[in-house]
């Protein structure tokens, strides 16, 4: 088994490999790239190699962990749906490193015989994205942005929502007390995720595809209005409810402009939160029928 791992300059090395794939004759077999977003810090390409060895024992494989932790795995295959087995094994071995969504829904697979250009475009976008986002702080965009691979994964949001039995709720609130209070209200009946800043919120948004997002306006890294606009832009069916202590007309107006589904000012009652969930259920029923 030959597994090559690349951590340093992974994006450029990956692009080189993709270009080489384009020069291979078609009879070389199916060449697959699996891309997934935001592997946690403690899983390096070297540790992934151990798992790859166990499932691809007789083949050549390469593993690239990019500087933003997006990870790409490459191997040649002639086995139908083999990528699902590989991904499932990786996810089982590194359960803590991934969100709980089914493996088939959080990975994007590229068959280089038919999707080489798509993969190449994604990598070009990715390299440009990383260049922008590693610029000095004052040159970075005001609003958070999604990486190209996060954008690809988001396209599966509706599919993921449709397959679940419980409502999943993301609560974005920087104050521990307020976040835990809201989660305490919801956790009995729903699956809840808590984010204490915009960066965490974006990650949950992509990886968990929450049905409802309760969003505070003042966050330490970005403001909630920008985040609402981003969520709405990438996922028109996201159900967003602003929950804020800023009960000012300008905030209500901005929330309306961003097309959010609700606005709850503190102090809020339990009932107002339950009503927001009920409102989601109603709109969901209307959409489904």
């Amino acid at each position: 088994m030959l597994v090559k791992s690349v951590d340093r300059d992974a994006e450029k090395m990956l692009m080189r490999t993709v270009n080489e794939c384009g020069r291979l004759p078609a009879q070389e077999g199916l060449i697959l790239f699996c891309a997934f977003s935001k592997l946690q810090d403690f899983v390096s390409s070297k540790t992934l190699n151990e798992t790859l060895k166990s499932v691809l024992s007789d083949r050549e494989a390469e593993c690239y962990v990019c500087s933003d932790h997006d990870t790409f795995i490459y191997w040649k295959s002639s086995v139908k749906d083999e990528e699902l087995v590989v991904i499932k094994t990786i996810q089982d071995d590194y359960a803590q490193a991934f969100s709980s969504v089914p493996a088939s829904q959080i990975f994007q697979v590229f068959d280089t015989r038919s999707q080489l250009e798509e993969l190449r475009s994604l990598l070009l976008e990715k390299i440009e994205f990383l260049t922008t986002n590693t610029a000095p702080q004052d040159l970075r965009p005001d609003i958070p942005v999604l990486s190209p691979i996060q954008n690809v994964l988001l396209k599966k949001s509706q599919e993921r929502r449709a397959s679940r039995s419980k409502i999943e709720i993301l609560i974005v609130e920087d104050q521990d007390f307020s976040r835990k209070l809201l989660m305490g209200l919801m956790q009995k009946d729903h699956v809840c995720y808590g984010a204490k800043n915009a960066a965490e919120a974006v990650q949950y948004f992509v990886e968990e595809a929450p049905d409802i997002i309760f969003l505070d306006i003042e966050l330490p890294d970005h403001d909630g209005h920008s985040l609402a606009r981003l969520f709405r832009q990438y996922d028109p069916r996201a159900f967003i409810v602003m929950v804020t202590g800023n009960n000012y007309q300008k905030d209500v107006d901005r929330a309306k402009e961003n097309g959010v589904n609700g606005f709850i000012a503190k102090p809020y009652s339990k009932q107002s939160i339950y009503n927001a969930v009920q409102s989601f259920v109603q709109s969901h029923l209307v959409t489904a029928s």
Binding site: Q175, D176, F177, S178, K180, G184, D216, G245, K266, P267
Partner: protein
Amino acid sequence: MFQEFFSSATELLSQLSHAVQTNNSDGWRTAAHALKGTSYNLGAKLLGDYCKTAQEQNNASRDEKQEILENINSEYGRVRAYIKAGEY
């Protein structure tokens, strides 16, 4: 949950006090906003209202802010005593 509130409030009161001493308007507004939200969530409306005043009086003088902070500290003391005594 109450312990979480005490812990958060103590930290934010300290930030408010530091913001007055160092004439840090942004720090003052941010801490006031945060304490306002947690107070309202707990149901401590008067404390939340004092914090709202603090947030809106972001450009007040140092003496004015000191006075607002005294009101906040005083009301926080009452809320804390009320909770500790189990009178809810």
